[in-house]
Symmetry: C2
Subunit: 467 residues, 2 copies
């Protein structure tokens, strides 16, 4: 329970509106990350599956897994659906059934909430070091406490007597790559002194959001955690300035002027869930149609989508660590974009109901456009809705545009272009049946109730600034 | 979208507060149902599986299914979990992957909303005829429109130009009996004249709730649909009367005085979802441990839990219809009970996070007590929390107590005792970690966001009266 008199939504909002930080400026964070980056060497060598230490295909090449059965496995699935153009396909997928922790510790200094962020190396990162949550832990990590391998700061997320929970949600990962994977996204607040370790800094939420403007600087795990922050409700008009960011703040707080009510949106979503079927069957990797397993990769016959590669990872900073693991390498860069438009005086986001094979519940809310670039080059004529609009948007309508990495622990140098576009006046309010307009305030409520927004849409929401 | 000036929550509330009905009084409804009941003969004969027309075990007795592959099938599952005392078991389960419609048409007469209810026979009902939604349709029913077998009134639920949607949710069925089954719970409102067919009547919500006081009168499908109705938010004190029902109204509307916030409750639930695992594997019926397949039933070796029986159904009213189907017969009556207590001046319901093997998402909100009586007689000493409290409750604390049927299309004469108990003053506010206190208003919000409350808890909430 939240104690004290200041509502946490107000604390979050104040922090989002603050970029000034006596500990470290935003510029200094960028320098600090660059410096860390220089100090570290990441060497990823592609190897043969047969040389992938600790990892093995089982007999019959059904599945690729760690010899302990821990971490994750690469499995095959057959997908049947009536959503989209493609009604049946096979593909490899990551199966990691355990729920991991993505946790951030916060603390008030002079009335402003600061987030304890970590400069963390991950093997798949384009640029090695990115800003990560205080804690990223798999179940194997956090349950092995008795073996003395306790992840740093874990206790603050577990022991309710030393930290207060501000946010605590189960949120999905990439539905095209993971089978029904979810993480616990959690933010806690401490009041006691806390030992800030070497790779950690205190940042305001305003700084974090500013840093998301930069390519590949704030990692996916941070973005998903902060996307779940609700800034409260207000029906007061927010007057004065008319900037894009102050209009975004209005959209985040306004709980009255949504084009549709929650019931309308839920009804729209219910109807679509009725309409679309998804059947996913586990099948052996060796029997995946249109996929080839070679000595060192599992790839699509036409080199489309992505491949599973075998990597020997060597990371050296002060110490050297070495291990092997499979990684997913995307065939090309992706594009995710929200189109936003003022309706009833409040910015609305154009949300898509999207089916992905690993979704926990068939459909999730996705950005207006979400595709692989290879995909969209093919399908431009096929007409993926709003894709051409996004690709041909005029510069003055592009409000946010950067490259963001997928999780570097599983994905090899995968980055997607993240875009927010303010629609031109004449952009139609009328949209196809799989699309609907929602305010930021409504989106934040749906995030709260879990498993509504997919990770791509959450990544984009994390980038929304109010200053 | 809801048009017009009167909010739908107000319309629902007005109807819930109205028992007077110029079409038919509550007494007359009871008489009418009894009369219908007399006119109908239901003859259920148990037969051998080999005589179950149109139904067959496949080779290897893996599954029992309809020869067309439609309707539903009886499959075997193996369950592994760390929730509760029993960590592994096998059982048969109903697999009915399609989403069905449970729909009610409403219409305003003189400013009051009336619900179009149907006197419907179902083979498994204890007493044959019960009050059902306007429409109960499986996907096979509602997609066979082109074959001329259109379910009555279906068009009002499909065509948005002739009816406005008031409620539209996906809600779960019994997680111990169905694999992840969900139905679309939908209420629409018409303005045009509507042809009221022979077995249908217009009732207020107040009447429906009054009728739920009677044993086996309002069927499960009706109860789940009306349980999803949200009556709005109000922070005005509702003064004057201090009756139980007016206090319930306060709990339904009050959005400020919950002991816990939504975030607190979601955090509690997130923590528990992290803690409890559920792995369900489909296995052949023939290899279910501790279950026996005889000529005419699939039963537990100790005759516990339930059995699958083969039934030849003959229903005669004006015409005679005959068919065969498997039915589930419970080993004994069940008990579901909510304990409610005034906290901060508002009634709170004691909610349990409960794992059932067919749950869509591991855990759902369940009543304070939910068990089979056979179960609880065994486990009284084992100490199912609050069970003894409920069983020994003094008469003046029992606010609601009736027998309610499970869905008669799948369950053979299954009824559960439904109880709401107002806790004595000294009932502890402190509860075990799987339990939490929520106001009715909070519970209604969780229902809105789908798949939080299990069907047993929704059944009890439907019985809450405000007059």
């Amino acid at each position: 329970m939240v104690n004290g008199t200041i509502p946490k939504s107000y604390l979050f909002l104040q922090s989002a509106l603050t970029e000034e930080n006596p500990f470290i400026t935003t510029e200094q964070v960028l320098d600090w990350l660059q410096e860390r980056n220089k100090k570290v060497k990441v060497n990823i060598q592609r190897v043969k599956f047969s040389d992938l230490d600790q990892w093995k295909f089982d007999e019959g090449v059904t599945v690729l897994r760690h010899i302990t059965g821990k971490f994750f496995s690469i499995e095959g699935i057959n997908v049947l659906t009536n959503f989209g153009n493609k009604q049946e396909w096979d593909q490899p997928i990551i199966n990691q059934p355990e729920i991991g922790y993505l946790g951030i510790i916060t603390k008030e200094f002079n009335g402003i909430l600061y987030f304890l962020m970590q400069a963390k190396i991950e093997p798949g990162n384009v640029n090695n070091v990115q800003l990560s949550p205080t804690l990223q832990a798999t179940k194997s990590n956090y349950t092995q406490v008795h073996k003395g391998k306790k992840p740093t700061y874990l206790e603050y997320f577990v022991d309710r007597s030393i930290a207060q929970v501000l946010l605590d949600q189960l949120q999905s990962e990439q539905g095209a790559r993971f089978v029904r994977k979810r993480n616990r996204n959690i933010i806690v607040k401490v009041t006691e002194e806390i030992d800030v370790q070497d790779n950690f800094v205190w940042l305001t939420l305003g700084q974090l959001k500013r840093l998301i403007r930069y390519d590949n600087t704030v990692n996916m795990d941070t973005r998903t955690v902060i996307s779940g922050i609700h800034f409260g409700d207000s029906n007061e008009p927010i007057g004065g300035r008319e900037s894009f960011s102050s209009s975004m703040l209005l959209s985040a707080l306004d709980s009255k002027r949504g084009m549709y009510s929650f019931d309308d949106i839920i009804s729209w979503f219910t109807q679509l869930k009725l309409q679309y079927d998804l059947t996913v069957k586990t099948i052996p990797l060796s029997s995946l149609r249109d996929w080839v397993i070679t000595d060192n990769e599992i790839r699509h016959v036409n080199n489309k989508y992505f491949k599973v590669i075998a990597a020997n990872v060597e990371i050296s900073s002060r110490e050297v660590s070495r291990w092997c693991q499979p990684l997913i390498q995307s065939a090309q860069e992706g594009l995710i974009a929200f189109v936003v438009k003022k309706i009833n005086g409040v910015f609305h986001f154009l949300v898509q109901a999207k089916l992905e094979c690993g979704n926990f519940d068939v459909l999730e809310f996705a950005p207006t456009v979400q595709c692989l670039t290879g995909n969209y080059r093919e399908t431009v004529t096929g007409g993926l809705p709003f894709l051409e609009y996004v690709l041909s948007a005029k510069k003055q309508h592009i409000r946010y545009d950067s490259l963001q990495s997928e999780e570097g622990g599983r994905f090899y140098r995968e980055q997607n272009r993240n875009v927010i576009i303010e629609a031109a006046e004449d952009f139609p309010v009328e949209v196809p049946e799989n699309y609907i307009w929602m305010t930021l305030n409504q989106l934040f409520y749906f995030i709260k109730f879990n498993n509504y927004l997919n990770i791509q849409s959450r990544s984009l929401l994390s980038a929304v600034e109010f200053i």
